[in-house]
């Protein structure tokens, strides 16, 4: 992000990436349970 140093930007990027992965995992588990 412009103006912010790399370690601060890393924190924000990590937040978004982990949240997206967490939600994708949740959706996968819901679909898996419907299929079983």
């Amino acid at each position: 992000m412009p103006g912010l140093d790399i370690l601060i930007t890393t924190g924000y990027v990590l937040s978004v990436v982990v949240l997206v992965l967490g939600v994708i995992y949740g959706v996968y588990k819901v679909k898996q349970s419907r299929g079983s």
């Binding site: 992000m1 412009p2 103006g3 912010l4 140093d5 370690l7 601060i8 930007t9 890393t10 924190g11 924000y12 990590l14 937040s15 982990v18 949240l19 992965l21 967490g22 939600v23 995992y25 949740g26 959706v27 588990k29 819901v30 349970s33």
Partner: protein
């Protein structure tokens, strides 16, 4: 007047829900676990609202007024990591274990998993001791806002906050707490959206705010006779930039940021007041849907709130003297309320500040239930097994009143900024339970001796470091406490006798 009316309406609604929950709370399982009947939305929002106390709004929102934005970025990141791990790794295993064994509390889990009443008793005592301390900081956060809005004393603010929560908890148990937490959690999210929106529109958006902060000079005077000091705003944009002056002088700001943010956030995977709610899920579908709703609720709230304090320099400082800026730097809990009072119109202002009261109530409610379970289920019922269930439920309803009185007396004593007290209690509870509960759900090699040693070591090192070494080293107590408690947990477990196979089979 409208602001006050909104908060009064909120208090009435939560009490009414408490009365409605009375019917299902007539057994131990009904009172402590809502008869194991919570749905996904209620459970996910109750998890979020229990975890986020007023500290998340006041301390979490205002702390980057003092710390650089690295604090906000990593507080958000660790929160997301913590909530995703809690729902992905802990929820299912704990729910299934509770369903198979009929356990009610976290010390119940420890007794069954490690076949040890001693470990259960220590867990219950740790819960009672640390959560009572933690309650005092939750009370403080909510009472400050109520005292300001109602124009009453801080002590009266404490009472206004305490009484409605006690009414609905005593009547409705976890059912009332969780239903209220759904409403209160949604209110907190709405307030976070509004606060973020007002701050961002006042500074011209995220990018313009960063650019303005870079150009700004922040003037502070740490005492009436001290010289006025000037700090470039660019210090708030660097990870090793601004922070508490003693930590800055020692070059410890990055380590302090990582220590505090990690301790507060990752605690979600081991806090008994959060984990016990997983027992109350209606079925596995609730856990599966919770894996989507839970991380979204916590993650969105964290992203909206935790970086606002730095931008508040652009809004507040022009109308403050350097002495007042220094005062806010010392107690950042006031940054968000002052900003909201400056920017938001009457009505919406009350709605936003009601969220602080909501955050306090939702955390208090479930924490009272966990304390009540530790006293009544884990200590009284264990030592007096002949006590009838009806009598135990009566005691369970009365126990929160006892804990409220103790916490209120402690809350009247002057204390430091909210986020740090919460961090100390939170962090130590996390250290005490992460091995025995979270790791114990997966590692069959964990033993009762490892569990007992780990809990005692975590408690002593966590609190001892906070009291005697934290302000000397600026290393947050959770790090050394974990460094002692976890190796002890593994080493002692490896050399002591494991529980019987039939117990370990429950873990599969």
């Amino acid at each position: 007047m409208i602001d006050v009316a909104i908060i009064v309406a909120l208090l009435i609604v939560v009490i009414v829900i408490g009365v409605k929950g009375y019917g299902v709370s007539r057994s131990m399982e009904g009172y402590f676990l809502a008869s194991r009947g919570l749905g996904a939305w209620v459970l996910a929002f109750s998890f979020m609202a229990t975890y986020f106390s007023a500290a998340s709004f006041l301390g979490g929102g205002g702390t980057t007024y003092l710390f650089n934005l690295g604090f906000g970025a990593w507080l958000t990141a660790w929160h997301v990591v913590g909530v995703v791990l809690a729902w992905a790794l802990v929820a299912e295993r704990l729910f299934k274990y509770a369903s198979k064994t009929g356990i009610i509390s976290i010390p119940d889990f420890i007794e069954h998993r490690y076949q040890s009443r001693a470990a259960k008793a220590i867990a219950a005592i740790v819960i009672i001791f640390l959560f009572t301390l933690y309650l005092t900081s939750v009370y403080k956060g909510g009472a400050i806002i109520i005292a300001t809005l109602f124009n009453v004393s801080y002590e009266m603010g404490l009472l206004i906050l305490a009484v409605p929560v006690l009414i609905y908890i005593c009547l409705g148990g976890l059912r009332a707490a969780a239903l209220n937490n759904l409403i209160l959690g949604i209110l907190m999210l709405v307030a976070a959206i509004l606060t973020f929106g007002y701050v961002m529109s006042a500074v011209g958006g995220w990018g313009a705010g960063i650019a303005a902060l870079e150009q700004m000079s922040i003037r502070a005077q740490f005492g009436p006779t001290a010289p006025v000091m000037e700090f470039p705003g660019s210090l708030w944009l660097k990870f090793d930039g601004f922070g508490p002056p003693p930590a800055m002088r020692m070059g410890m700001v990055p380590a302090l940021i990582m220590g505090i943010t990690f301790s507060i956030s990752v605690a979600q995977i081991a806090l008994p007041n959060l984990l016990m709610q997983f027992y109350a899920a209606r079925d596995m579908r609730v856990i599966n849907y919770g894996r989507i709703i839970g991380p979204l609720a916590v993650g969105i709230y964290a992203m909206l709130m935790f970086s606002l304090g730095a931008f508040c320099h652009l809004i507040l400082d022009q109308n403050l003297t350097p002495l007042e800026v220094a005062s806010l730097l010392k107690d950042t809990d006031w940054v968000i309320p002052k900003t909201v009072m400056t920017l938001a119109p009457v009505g919406l202002r009350g709605l936003i500040l009601a969220a602080v009261v909501a955050a306090s109530m939702s955390t208090l409610a479930v924490t009272f239930i966990v304390l009540s379970a530790a006293l009544v289920r884990d200590i009284i019922q264990t030592t007096h097994p002949e006590t009838s269930e009806a009598k135990l439920v009566k005691l369970a309803r009365l126990a929160p009143i006892l804990f409220a009185i103790i916490a209120l007396v402690l809350a009247i004593q002057p204390t430091g900024i909210i986020v740090e007290i919460v961090g100390a209690a939170f962090g130590t509870i996390f250290v005490c339970f992460v091995g025995p509960v979270t790791i114990g759900l997966y590692w069959k090699g964990a033993t009762k001796a490892g569990t007992i040693v780990s809990m005692i070591a975590g408690l002593i090192v966590g609190l001892g470091w906070y009291l005697f070494l934290y302000r000397v080293t600026w290393i947050y107590p959770v790090i050394p406490a974990l460094a002692v408690a976890l190796p002890l947990f593994f080493i002692v477990s490896l050399v002591t006798k494991k529980p019987p196979k039939e117990v370990l089979d429950v873990l599969e």
